[in-house]
């Protein structure tokens, strides 16, 4: 599903240059649930941003679902993001003046899906995250866990190839974190490919594979026995 080779990225900090990713080689198969771990500054967010086409690599190849991702202009990147990727953020990033259903249907709007169908799909996905009756509520009327579930529904609504979650539980308490991870596991069990960036070991243990990053290189890449979040809820 994802294949990256010799990925380099550096940021220009005034006169000095900060080499964040120093040659990453990384493969993800379809249906995997991968945790990307590392301390802050290890380059895990940068990697995720490049995978999410929010940032571009300086060097290296990136192939997503057989499509080589390179020479992206903003319009092309937007189209690819819309087609291939779903995003879940630490701070949810729901649009605060749109209700849950409208938030979920937003990626479909940019796909040019008709109103009626959008509404229907949005409700369907809200139902899957258990928030159907909250469809008309604004984000300010939802709890943190509910917001993240709406965000996951939004990320899934466009049926992406890969779901990218950047610290999805970073702003949540343990119980809610596990609820959210339970949802992510369910989605994974349905065959979706998911990448989770986290620095919490217990969250990482709920994935099927852990990739450790340190100073811009992968220091460890292991399959783990998945801990089911449902057991802890």
């Amino acid at each position: 599903m994802i294949s990256i080779k010799n990925l380099h990225k550096s940021y220009q900090m005034g006169s000095s240059s900060l080499h964040v990713l120093k040659g990453i080689d990384f493969e993800v198969e379809e249906g995997e649930l991968v945790a990307i771990m590392g301390s802050s500054g290890s380059g895990k967010s940068t990697l995720l941003n490049i995978l999410g086409m929010l940032d571009t690599a300086d060097e290296g190849d990136y192939i997503l679902d057989g499509v080589e991702i390179k020479d992206l202009d903003e319009t092309k990147a937007a189209k690819y993001r819309n087609k291939f990727l779903g995003f879940v953020f630490q701070s949810f990033n729901l649009i605060n003046y749109k209700n849950a259903a409208e938030n979920v249907s937003l990626p479909l709007y940019y796909q040019g899906v008709s109103r009626k169908e959008r509404q229907q799909v949005a409700l369907e996905y809200l139902d899957r995250v258990g928030l159907k009756e909250w469809a008309t509520h604004l984000p300010s009327e939802l709890s943190g866990g509910q917001k993240q579930r709406v965000a996951i529904a939004r990320a899934m609504a466009s049926q992406p190839k890969v779901l990218l979650a950047d610290e999805p539980t970073g702003a949540l308490d343990t119980k809610t974190s596990y609820e959210v991870m339970d949802l992510i596991q369910q989605i994974n069990d349905e065959g979706n490919t998911i990448l989770v960036v986290t620095h919490e070991p217990d969250i990482a243990q709920m994935c099927k594979r852990i990739v450790m990053l340190k100073d811009g290189v992968i220091v460890e890449d292991k399959k783990v026995k998945q801990v089911k979040a449902a057991a802890h809820v």
């Binding site: 903003e74 953020f89 940019y110």
Partner: protein, 424 residues
């Protein structure tokens, strides 16, 4: 997506209304900026037009390019004559002037007593009497200034002049003072300078009709000259040029000809006096035009200020919404979709504000009009704004709204989605 499709897409508008509704106060303040601009623009140009119309009305009773001439003392020796001579205008001059100057439409020789000199004659009706200014006139005089004659009466006609009839047109004041209330003066006889004259009409006094008053009595020119033994002498020529003529040029031509006829030096500035209503009128029209121009400039400047305000506020709004726009782009919004959304917001706000301003201004103009409609002295009538001005203003607003909207729209797409998302 083509831009036209975006424009007619219900979702586009829902997005716009959504973000407008989110920032009600911001939106209202912005709208007021432009609304005020167009309001000032429409009110000012409407008022300027009202002023213009008002001046037109003030001069409605006198031909707009009319002028008068009279003789004074010469101040330059010429053709053997010493200075200080009093040239005398003659009746024949009228025909000469009209023959020589093609631009003259009507020319009315006049004599008068009790206005510029001489004592007004005593006018007697039975036991009532009074002194009233007396004019000897030709019928053409009524063509230069409007004379409103009350029902049942008429002004002097050609036959009156030809047969030196002893008929007179009296003013409202003379009627009031010489006749009983309810008595019809037309057909009755009054004594002017001990000579009986039949009253043929009563004229209504109208403001803006020259130097006349409501007491004036008009008699045929020929009768007047016979009565005062004036031969063919004329005190005063009153004339009207054709509408398209330049009144200043006509005035110069008349003076030039009068000087030639009466052997006065062409350089003599004092031998003949004149006044030129056309010139005054032109100046007033020029003033009104200046007002219109000023109102256009001020109005357009205010609109520009308002639209810049919209751009300014949208810029702040884009900054506020950086994160939202980042999310939208992460979800697949292309830069052009973001750009057109911001642009449409700008144009939509501008148009709504503009239309509100136009409506408000229309109400205010109607209000001013209603308040001034009965004020005869106040030169302000029927304030209107040509449709072309309104459409012009709307056009300016839409194009400026687009141009100004481009700045925040460009800013919105210039931020990378990753930076937008990082923003807290």
């Amino acid at each position: 997506m083509t831009s036209l499709k975006i424009l007619f897409d219900r979702d586009t508008w829902q997005e716009i209304f959504g973000s407008i509704r989110k920032n009600k106060i911001r939106t209202i303040i912005t709208v007021i900026g432009v609304l005020w601009g167009i309001f000032i623009y429409i009110t000012l140009s409407g008022s300027a037009k009202g002023l213009d119309n008002g001046f037109e009305r003030a001069f409605r009773n006198i031909a707009k390019n009319s002028m008068g001439f009279w003789a004074q003392r010469t101040s330059v020796p010429y053709a053997g004559f010493k200075i200080g001579r009093y040239p005398e205008l003659r009746l024949a001059d009228a025909q000469l002037l009209k023959d020589r100057i093609g631009g003259i439409e009507f020319i009315a020789p006049r004599n008068s007593r009790g206005v510029f000199g001489g004592t007004p004659p005593l006018v007697v009706n039975n036991n009532k009497s009074g002194n009233y200014p007396l004019y000897g006139d030709y019928p053409s005089y009524a063509k230069i200034t409007t004379k409103k004659i009350y029902d049942g009466g008429r002004f002097i006609n050609d036959q009156d002049v030809k047969y030196q009839r002893k008929v007179c047109v009296i003013g409202e004041r003379a009627e009031k003072e010489l006749f009983e209330k309810g008595e019809n003066p037309v057909g009755q006889y009054i004594k002017i300078n001990d000579i009986y004259f039949q009253v043929i009409g009563v004229h209504k006094y109208i403001q803006g009709g020259g130097f006349e008053s409501e007491g004036d009595i008009f008699i045929p020119f020929s009768t007047y000259n016979k009565m005062y033994n004036r031969g063919d002498r004329v005190d005063f020529f009153f004339l009207a040029a054709y509408d398209e003529q330049d009144p200043v040029a006509i005035e110069e031509e008349v003076l030039f000809n009068l000087k030639r006829i009466h052997k006065v030096s062409p350089k003599d500035e004092r031998a003949f006096g004149s006044f030129n209503i056309g010139e005054i009128f032109q100046r007033i029209i020029g003033f009104a035009r200046g007002m219109t121009f000023l109102s256009l400039v001020v109005g357009v400047a205010t609109i520009i200020a308002g639209v810049i305000g919209i751009g300014n506020i949208l810029l702040i709004s884009v900054k506020e919404r950086t994160k939202e726009l980042g999310v939208r782009r992460a979800l697949g919004a292309t830069p052009s979709e973001i750009r057109s959304q911001i642009l449409l917001e700008s144009v939509f706000l501008t148009i709504v504000a503009g239309i509100c301003g136009i409506i408000l201004a229309a109400f205010v103009l109607a209000g001013i009009n209603a308040a001034t409609v009965n004020l005869e002295d106040f030169p302000y009538t029927n304030p209107t704004v040509p449709l072309s001005y309104i459409f012009g203003a709307l056009f300016i607003m839409v194009s400026l709204g687009t141009l100004i909207g481009l700045i925040p729209a460009q800013r919105a797409v210039s931020i990378k989605p990753i930076d937008a998302l990082r923003e807290e």
